[in-house]
Symmetry: C2
Subunit: 227 residues, 2 copies
């Protein structure tokens, strides 16, 4: 890897553990995992479809729509209060266990979040996870009214960090986001906690790690290599 | 519905039954349904992701990539010949049982296909299904190098048919395609054979049918209503 002027992190699944969203489903179903997977899959699909249709709605609205679909698809009923509780899980996410220490060891390198989340959702998750103070920028797709993997979104990171994409490291746990960021021109680290297969989109990450705690050493090596 | 100057049909799952793709999987796995579902899901995802990334590859290439992913994800191995046989299922699809008679009853109304399929894939499926002679136009996204639900794709139908979208009927079995066509401005018929829930994308079809055989009566009623 080339020297790294700054690091951009994806939010959901990368910094923030969305497992509490599964927990919130237990009140409605014996199989909260299926509810959570259906909800998450539709949430992503709706970002891609709305971006392609040119009909942006923010991530809170898309996440609500995906939850409505998932409940209907699985034949589940939720009261207004239960629906609200499921949605609120997105406002009180925890960071992955290794995240805080890893980010602290990266002090000195400008750090940012670049996420599909709406500004309000990102502010809430950064606060609830205890990571809020670490980031120089919290960048939401809402500024360009489209979704990843549109190049317009990845461009936000370059503008905020004031460095070319090839001198920035983009970190995501989502393989399709890794592909989008790499296609755009970032150095890319895939945080592949689940040991998933890479997407077949014609691009590969520069490096793959099993957790965020492996990143400080990568950055040091990149600096040493190009020094 | 307003009077209908022409009808555009989606191809895969709407006119052409992709069940033979499942059958082709039996040589590799006891669970060809899961292979088929994973393959189909990734095929769609890759069209959306590549369209958003601005990295178009044609539907044959995307379908190959999706099959490679599905095999790896499910831990299946396919020889080159087995891989080729799976892909070739897309070149020899059958029409749904009611399709031919329904299309014949629509004679007099200009009919077209508007599909993600590559021109070669669509020509092969039209021939193998026995539907080839029925269509005035077989329109592929390849002409605009992006994928549904981009408005650029739906615009192809308007141009070929020489009528405004509001005087054309778009027919699809895919709920997200229904949403894209409706957002673009077509009159839209959802052919919902599986009685699936509609996507939550802020638009609804004008009419929902259980099979293509219900469409001739709809078109007659629309003509009578506006005469």
């Amino acid at each position: 890897m080339a020297q790294i002027q700054g690091i951009l992190f994806d939010a959901y699944g990368t910094l923030f553990d969305v497992h509490s969203v599964v927990e919130a489903g237990r009140a409605l179903t014996d199989d909260p995992q299926t509810l959570s997977l259906t909800w998450r899959q539709k949430q992503l699909e709706y970002t891609w479809l709305r971006a392609l249709m040119g009909r942006y709605e923010d991530f809170w609205q898309v996440t609500q729509a995906a939850l409505r679909y998932a409940l209907r698809r699985l034949g589940l009923r939720a009261s207004e209060a239960e629906f609200a509780r499921l949605m609120e899980a997105y406002l009180s996410l925890r960071a992955f266990p290794e995240a805080k220490a890893a980010l602290e060891r990266l002090r000195g390198t400008p750090l940012a979040i670049l996420s599909n989340g709406s500004p309000r959702m990102l502010a809430a998750a950064a606060a609830s996870s205890g990571l809020a103070g670490v980031f120089a920028h919290v960048l939401s797709v809402d500024a360009v009214k489209t979704y990843k993997p549109s190049p317009k979104v990845y461009e936000l990171g370059v503008q905020a960090m004031g460095a070319p994409a090839g001198q920035l490291l983009f970190v995501s746990a989502n393989a399709w986001d890794v592909a989008g960021a790499k296609a755009f021109g970032y150095q890319v680290c895939w945080c592949n906690r689940a040991n998933a297969p890479m997407e077949e989109l014609g691009v590969a990450p520069d490096v793959t790690v099993g957790g965020l705690d492996e990143i400080p050493a990568l950055v040091r090596r990149a600096s040493a290599g190009s020094a």
